[in-house]
Every structure is written in C-alpha cells, then in structure tokens.
C-alpha cells in the first residue's frame, strides 16, 4: 500500500474513533437517568441487578400491555379491603397505600411501565358484616385483589378456591422481607402444606388486672408486681384467680359481677380457658376438630363457679353489653378487677376512651392466662391477621408485591404501636418506633406461650357453640352439667364428623 493511502486510512480511523466516542458519550449522556436527590437508601448495583432480574417477567408482561394500550403507561388499580373494627388499626389499609407508592418508585427505577394505586375501604363494621361482604364478593368473582382476614380463614378460603397459594411468590421474593418473618407465624397461615396468606400482625390475649383494686384487697406492691411471674411459672392458677375474684366481691372491693369481665361477643378468646385446662382443638393427623370433654367439663365448671349463680364474679348481663358503649368505659373507669382482653385494647383505651398512658401503667398489669390447675402451663392465644390475594385478581404478582412492601419493619411498627399489636418481623424488634413502646416490649414474651386457633373450615361453628353455651351458663340457664350436654349435642348436630369428641 502506498504511504499516502496508509496515512489517509489512519487519519480516517482516528476521526471515526473520536467521532464514535463523542457520539457514544452524547448518547450515554442523553439517556442516562437523571441523578435526583436520593429519596431513601441508594440501591447498590448488585441489588439493582437482582431487582431487575426478579421483576423481569413482570416488566415484560406490563410492557406488552403498554403496547396493546398504545404506548401509554399502564395504570393498575389494586383493590384492597381491610378491617378493624377498631379505627386505631387503620394502618392495615394505609400501609398498603404507602406500599403502592414505594412500588411505583421501584418501577420507575427499573423501568417497569406501570403505575399502581391501591383503592378500597377500611371497615369499622362488625367482623360478621365484613366477612359476609368479602365472602359474597369473592363468590361472585367481584372480590378485592387484597383483603385482610383472620389467619385461620386460610382453611375456608382455600377450600372454596377463593384465594391463590402464595408459596411460589414467597420463595421468589424471600429476600425482600420474608426471611425476616418470625418463624412461628408461618404455621398460622399454612394449611394442607401450602402458604395461603401473609401475616399482617399478631397479638396476644392476656388477662389485665387492676392494680389499684388489688391494693384495696390488701395485696402489697411486691405481690402485685410478681403476679405475672407467678402465673408464668404455674404457681398461680385459674382456680387461684377465681378465689381472688370471689374474695373481691365478698369484701366489696368490686360490685358483684364486676370481678372478671370478658368479651360480650363470640370471638377467638373463648377456647383459651379450655386450653388452659389442657384441652386440644385439632387432631394433627386427620386435621379434624377435637373436643376433650374432660377439659370442657372443667372449663364449664370454672365458668359456672364464676357466674352469678355461684361466685358472682362474672356478671350475667355481660353478654348483652356492647364493647364500645358499656365495656371499655367501665374498665377504663377502674371498676373491673380482671379483664380477659387483648393487647390492642390498650391502644383503644388510649386512643378512643380517654385513658392517658400514665394512668394505664398506674392502673393495669397484665399476664398470661394462668394454668387451669397445678401441673399445667399458662397459655394465651394469638390471632394473627393475614393478607390474602384473591383468585380473581388480575395482577396477582403486583398485589403480592404491595403486600410485600407493606410488610416492612417501619410501616408495620406504625401499625403495631398505634393499635397495640405485636411485631411480625425480627427486624421490628429493633425498630426505633417499635422499641420505644414500653407496652409492646413488656408483652412480647407472650407469643412464646401463644396457641393458634385451628385452621379448619368449620372452626367458626365450633367457636360459636362455645360462646353460646357459656352465655347460657352465665345468664343462669344452665348449670355446668347441662351446659356440657347442650354443648355436646350442638357439636354433633352442627359439626357431624368434622369433630372428634373424646370423653
């Protein structure tokens, strides 16, 4: 080749290279994402890549959708229904809304062409009304994408084919938050080998005792403060509690019927005394419900002894009272010695019933349900709430992502502290919002003693029968033997072979 040609080719190459770099740089500069003020944590590149990978299928789906729609970004509305009924639990809904905001941020970063919005009501209706509403909608195929319900409904919801199993999603997004869920909670949402819901919160149902009234009864500060421990070690039993209650009535420290109060309606608490007497509710091999008649007899004996017919500890009118109208105001005014309640009641008392935080600590102590008799263990019951994804949801993965982002230590702590529920993530136990709360710290230990209600589609019927029968004992219609008989007959009539009756 001639030197002149070589020189020209070399010059041309250099010019092309320089131009190429310039163009390349210009293109890079034009298309690079604008560096904006970091809104939160800066995502390291490895995380970013992982995110990209995890969301790839979703991104493809949505990009396809966007094309079908003519290029506009896809607007997705996820319907979510949640329930209190207490208004302090409103974060159950608000956290989902916030999760959608966070999801949108992630989508923008990764380039998913969609915006997500969460719509729906937070209900303050009764559980029955809320459940009816949800079941009806699910059955008609018009159900919400996400809904919250008590964990044990996993059984009924999945039997009816209304919800989707979440195992695969949980596995896929394990590292986002699910590695951190307190392990015992998974049992509460696992039915027939699959995960059906994501725990939203949990709680414990303690017995609150009025310290001021115990003092009036003659207890020393020491005795009062060591009560929870005595209960924990099994030294103080339900029989002891009953004796203290009766003594309080006899000595006039409380009015007759105001020594032991419990919820006026059906609910998860009813089996606790039975559990404290060593009863079991579900057979692990067959999954059937179980009724230990010996334990039930002891339970009914206890309630009978406590009723106005005998010890006058529990008012016969209590099942006609209304939670908000009658019960909470009376407890807050310090007239009741023992309250079989839930830890979230503290949230309600402070939020809606004018109890100050200081006054609460002055007036109330709290402990597990004592063992029924010496030799048994103290118990409590937890009823975690769970988020479920309905089968009719058009964007189940997005719904799941929203639930995942709402299952965040900070967001969940907002809910936990405001409504006095317990943590579901290990990280929460060190979240500043959560740890600030003295009450949650003091009740945290109870989850170790907590049992769950059985996951069985007919559990609600069983539970309603328990309540109805105890109601009959308290209003003076049955003595403990009659109660046992009515109980057995109702169980057989309503549950048939779903229940194993052990004499």
């Amino acid at each position: 080749m001639q030197a002149k040609t070589q020189k020209s080719i070399a010059l041309l190459l250099i010019v092309v290279l320089v131009l190429g770099f310039a163009v390349g740089y210009l293109v890079h500069w034009a298309t690079a994402p604008q560096p904006s003020a970091p809104t939160g944590e800066v995502v390291p590149k490895s995380e970013y890549d992982k995110l990209n990978q995890e969301l790839q299928t979703l991104k493809n789906q949505l990009q396809q959708l966007q094309q079908q729609q003519g290029g506009k970004p896809v607007e997705i509305v996820i319907t979510a229904w949640t329930q209190g009924p207490e208004r302090e639990s409103i974060y159950r809904q608000l956290n989902l809304v916030e999760a959608a905001n966070r999801l949108n941020t992630i989508f923008k970063v990764v380039g998913v062409p969609a915006t997500v919005k969460v719509e729906g009501d937070f209900s303050t209706a009764s559980w029955t009304d809320y459940r009816n509403k949800v079941f009806l909608a699910l059955q008609g195929g018009t159900g919400p994408c996400i809904f919250q319900m008590e964990h044990h409904y996993s059984a009924l919801l999945s039997e009816n084919g209304w919800i989707i199993p979440l195992d695969d999603y949980v596995k896929k997004y394990w590292n986002w938050t699910y590695y951190d869920i307190i392990s015992g909670l998974w049992d509460s949402v696992t039915y027939k080998g699959h995960i059906w819901g994501i725990p939203q919160d949990t709680e414990a149902r303690p017995i609150f005792y009025n310290k001021l009234l115990l003092k009036q009864l003659g207890w020393t500060d020491d005795q009062i403060n060591s009560l929870p421990d005595k209960i924990k070690s099994g030294q103080f039993t339900l029989q002891d509690l009953l004796r203290v209650a009766e003594e309080a009535v006899q000595k006039g420290v409380v009015q007759p019927g105001y020594a032991i109060w419990h919820r006026p309606s059906a609910g998860p608490d009813w089996p606790i005394v039975y559990l404290a007497f060593g009863g079991t509710l579900q057979d692990p091999t067959t999954g059937k419900l179980v009724a230990d008649m010996k334990a039930w007899k002891k339970t009914f004996d206890w309630f009978y002894e406590a009723s106005m017919q005998k010890g006058k500890a529990i008012s016969d009118k209590i099942t006609s009272l209304d939670f908000n109208r009658d019960i909470h105001p009376t407890i807050v005014s310090g007239k009741v010695l023992f309250w079989m309640g839930g830890i979230w009641h503290k949230g309600q008392w402070i939020g809606s019933f004018n109890l100050s935080e200081d006054r609460f600590w002055q007036m109330f102590g709290f402990a597990l349900y004592p063992a029924g008799e010496p030799g048994l263990k103290p118990v409590t019951l937890s009823q975690p709430q769970a988020y479920f994804v309905s089968k009719s949801c058009k964007y189940p993965e997005i719904a799941f992502l929203i639930i995942t982002l709402a299952t965040d230590p900070y967001l969940n702590s907002l809910h936990a502290v405001k409504s006095a529920h317990l943590a579901i993530l290990y990280d929460q136990l060190s979240d500043p919002v959560y740890t600030k709360d003295k009450f949650l710290a003091a009740t945290g230990y109870m989850v170790q003693y907590a049992k769950y209600q059985p996951l069985h589609p007919k559990w609600s019927d069983y539970n309603t029968i328990i309540f109805n029968v105890i109601k009959g004992i308290e209003t003076g219609q049955f003595n403990s033997d009659q109660a046992l008989q009515v109980f057995r007959q109702n169980l057989q009539n309503t549950l048939g072979d779903s229940v194993i009756i052990r004499d």
Partner: protein, 303 residues
C-alpha cells in the same frame, strides 16, 4: 274495524297489568319457590348446589334448639298481638270519645313510630331502656334515689313487646277508630237516652259492631308478626341469654347472614322460612274463606 280495536284494547290493558305481574312473579313468587328449593339442598359457604332431600328438615326436627325457637315465636306473636289489639282498641276508644282535635292529634302521634325509620326508633328505645346507668329510665330512677334496673336484660319479652307493639298498635288503632266513627250516631244516642253508661255503650254496642275489624286485625297481624324480625334484630338480636328472644325467622336470618362467626348455612336457614311460608299460606287461605266471601271481590263493572 271492531275486531282490530278489540285486540288493541286488550293489548293496552295487558300492558297496564303486565309490569305489576312481572314484578310480583320475579321478586315474590320466584323467591318463594327458590326458598323451598334451597331448603332441599345443603347450600352453604361452599356455594355448591347439592340436593339432599329432606335431610335439613330431619335436622330441624331433631335439633335441640328447635323447640326454643318455636316457643319464642309463639311467645312473641301472641304477646305482641295481644298488645297490638288491646292497646289499639284502647287508643281508638279514647281518641274517638274525646274532643276531635285531641283525638286526631293522639292518633297522628301514635302513628308516627310506624313511619319513622326503624334504625332511629330502635336506637332511641335501646337508650331509654338501657340496663346501664346512663340509660334514660335508669338516669331518672337514680335521680329519684332508686337503683338502676336492667330493663332489656331482665324484662326482655316485655321490652320487645313494647317496642314492636308501639309500632303495631297503630294499625288496629286506625282501623278501629275509623270503624267506630262510622257507627251510626242514632244507636249511641238511643242508648244514652235509655240511660246507658259510657262503659255499657262500649261493651254492648261498639265492640260488637266492630267485631269484623277486630278479627281482621288479629288475622292480619298474626301473619305479619310470624315473619317480622327487623326490630328484634336492631335491639336485642336474639339475646340476652342463650337464644332468649330468638324467633324462627330471626334464626333463619342469623343462619344465613351471620351471627357472630358462623354463617352462610343457607340450606338449613331456608327450612325455617319454608315452614313459615307454609303456615302463612294456610292461614291466608283460611282468612280468604272467612273474610273474603262477602268481600269486594265483586265482579267488576266492565266486560
């Protein structure tokens, strides 16, 4: 052309009648039939239609709670009926014997609870009779130095009967007073001239003359009380104790739409409804025969 016009006329008349017929058939007759059909299935939370014949009825007969529901229904119906008729009669008699303005005012006021929305009425009655210290009656009692009474808790049947009765008695009141007012004055005057006391006039003249209306009110309200539960639902909801005021129709509602945690047992719930429907049908036929024979089923005036 007479022929064409006739068909046009029939078409027009049919058109005027059809909407009502469609509505009644669609929303009354079909649901009634559907109710009976559902009672032969075990439709529940699974929403599966599965025929099981008379199994639900067998369960109904053998269930230990059934006698309680039946007993409550009988107590509720007879108690409220008695209240309705007696108080209705009493109101009618008093309001027609005082000065017309006062009488009209009385009747207007007593008719009001019936017209008022049920939730408001239930709310205020529950507050008045509340067993808590803050209830109206108890506030008055305490003010007078007495002790509060657990009204709705201890005296639940009287409470329910009063609540439903205040609504129901206006029916009889209106019918009886209009009947009393249409009694020819001559009878009354003649009796007065003869020296009869007011009470005797009431007993010997007025009551016999409105026998038909009294019978009608009894018949009509028995039917409607058998199936009425809205006010029970809004106040005591079947309590205060173990099914203390749970009447049959309320139990059906609870079984289907939920009481506490258990609900959606549609198959079993419709058994209660079907039985009530059958009783209602039989009673209606009986009433038809008794009351309508000489009634305005008179053949109409055209064609």
């Amino acid at each position: 052309m007479a022929f064409g016009r006739r068909w046009v006329r029939i078409a027009v008349l049919a058109l005027m009648l059809v909407p009502a017929t469609i509505v009644i058939v669609l929303f009354m007759v079909i649901p009634a039939v559907l109710t009976v059909l559902i009672s032969l299935t075990n439709l529940d939370y699974r929403f599966i239609w599965e025929w099981i014949g008379l199994a639900n009825y067998q369960k109904f007969i053998t269930d230990i709670n059934t006698p309680i529901f039946v007993k409550n229904t009988i107590i509720f119906v007879t108690g409220t009926l008695t209240f309705n008729v007696l108080v209705g009669l009493f109101l009618a008699l008093v309001s027609t014997h005082v000065h017309d303005t006062l009488g009209t005012l009385m009747r207007a006021l007593w008719y009001l609870p019936r017209v008022m929305p049920s939730v408001i009425y239930a709310f205020i009655m529950m507050w008045i009779f509340s067993p808590m210290d803050t209830g109206f009656l108890n506030t008055i009692l305490r003010g007078l130095g007495g002790r509060p009474v657990a009204w709705t808790f201890q005296y639940y049947w009287p409470f329910l009967i009063i609540v439903n009765g205040f609504i129901g008695c206006s029916f009889g009141m209106v019918i009886f007073s209009s009947a009393i007012k249409s009694i020819p004055q001559d009878y009354i005057i003649a009796a007065k001239v003869d020296g009869a006391s007011q009470l005797t006039i009431v007993r010997r003249i007025i009551l016999p003359l409105i026998k038909w209306q009294i019978a009608f009110v009894v018949a009509y309200q028995t039917l409607s009380l058998l199936a009425s539960f809205e006010y029970i639902l809004l106040t005591l909801d079947g309590g205060p104790g173990y099914y203390s005021t749970e009447v049959m129709i309320l139990q059906a509602y609870h079984l289907a739409f939920g009481q506490y945690l258990a609900s959606m047992r549609y198959g079993y719930a419709t058994v209660f409804v079907t039985i009530l429907l059958v009783i209602g049908l039989i009673l209606s036929v009986v009433y038809w025969k008794v009351f309508r024979l000489r009634e305005l089923m008179a053949e109409p005036k055209m064609e």
